[in-house]
């Protein structure tokens, strides 16, 4: 047990902040991957968080049950934009079923599930595990994933 990270402890908040704003997240925020427009996308959807103004437009090319290409457009906080950038990297070439399974793992990680956070299938996305300590920011991290669910999830 690490008493320096006791809840409400000043030092604990700083540690949590450093976990939230890891270099890899800031890198995706400042140099987003797969940002742009896919002319021949088969699926696209824009969602926003009306309270904070984050916007993500997800575009997919889905062929025979496989996501062959993924890109996004958008603006907003580092968490929403980094999550979208990292997500598109992990989606390319992935069967839709597997993408939705990844969505489940990612969502569980954001709600503090440590087993989910250890899943290597998440790649860079594991850097977003720190969001679980900031409940108001979970919706930022999930914005791009909500697009994915609406585009190819059950009931889409």
């Amino acid at each position: 047990m690490n008493d320096r990270e006791a809840p409400g402890n000043d030092h604990g908040s700083e540690v949590q902040l450093k976990q939230l704003y890891q270099e890899v997240i800031l890198d995706h925020y400042r140099k987003p991957r797969n940002k742009g427009v896919i002319e021949a996308s088969t699926h696209q959807l824009t969602l926003n968080n009306p309270l904070c103004g984050d916007i993500v437009e997800l575009q997919l090319v889905v062929n025979n049950g496989r996501i062959v290409d993924a890109a996004f457009e958008g603006s907003g906080c580092s968490i929403s934009q980094a999550s979208a950038s990292m997500m598109t990297e992990r989606l390319k070439g992935r069967p839709v079923d597997s993408a939705l399974a990844l969505d489940q793992t990612f969502t569980r990680m954001l709600h503090g599930d440590e087993a989910a956070a250890a899943d290597e299938d998440l790649g860079d996305l594991r850097a977003l595990a720190g969001v679980s300590r900031f409940p108001v920011r979970i919706k930022c991290a999930l914005l791009a994933w909500n697009c994915l669910e609406e585009l190819v999830g059950p009931g889409s």
Binding site: N9, D10, L17, R30, G53, D54
Partner: protein, 411 residues
Amino acid sequence: MIRKALDVERIRNDFPILNREIHGQPLVYLDNAASSQKPAAVVAAVSGYFLNSHANVHRGAHHLSVEATDAYESARAVVADFIGGRTKELIFTRGTTESINLVANSWGGANLEAGDEILLTLMEHHSNLVPWQLVAARTGAKLRFAGLTPDGRLDLEDLAARIGPRTRLVALTHVSNTLGVVNPVAEVAGLAHAGGALCLVDGAQAAPHLDVDVVEIGCDFYAFSGHKMCGPTGIGALWARKELLEEMPPWQGGGEMISEVHLEHSTWAAVPHKFEAGTPSVGDAVGLGAAVRYLSKVGLEAIHAHELNLTEYALERLTELDGFELFGPREGRVGVISFRFGDIHAHDLATILDARGIAIRAGHHCNQPLMRHLGVDATARASLYLYNTRAEIDALVEGLHAARTLFGGFA
């Protein structure tokens, strides 16, 4: 005349919440434009009312009902007096939003015809925009918008030029909740009247901070909220000229607002009760009365002077920071400070500052059209009130330094 400076330390003792720690740090509350904190006197007035004097108002012949009615109506008198209005011209509502909806539905519904125009400005809060969109859709009236100057003030010439023969109402905010500018509402009211229109002023960001006098302004409607001026949530007021209120139809029906009720028709109570259907929020009205007494005792002039002084200090310190960009003019403004800081998004700034106990607002501030006009999706906003100190501004500046460090500088 000797102007007494605010004894801020003493004032802070009146607000128990200011002793709280957030994430192990003393609370630095800089989100006053969203809602202010409450002095113990206001909470005591509300609780004292419910513990000792509560019954329904304007109904019973019994003693407690008389006491409750007295408490409610004396709150009306003190709140009306606070903004320079007469008691019978003050309607209690849930807040600014409901006050403006009342005018839009009652006055707008009865007076607007297809082709009539309502003139707003580009800096209106959604609460002084959406109600007009709704009534325009119903009546065929059109919305017009006065623009802003490049430094973020109301463009008065543009506003004057947009008042035409079909303009029925000019509705604008007294103080911008994003740009921090104080609009020349008396001049606008004069322009509106000269053009044969009425003038509504949204006072949500002004009544808590300025010595408002509706007669001096010369407007026809003035709307404000209790919770931004040390009062409870869920209570606010609409002041309007008595002649207008007498002509306007009720907008909600029920008990309290009637004189005689028959099966097929009814007659209305006299103003202001014609506009207060149902049992009112008596405890909250009593709380607003106590808030107004508190603010008056401290003195609006002293509060305003303190805030101007603190705003000047804040802007001096903040504009020294590399990457700090202020929205709205540098001079002639009040303590609503909207800004951008390098490439750190407002939402990230709010999280980082919160970890240090500092509460600011991040987002569009219910000002989406203005955000579009400014070309941003969100701003960070620090807003000041009577209990804020220079030390808290210093904490904000340190917090911004820490944010920049955490982000490894700016891209």
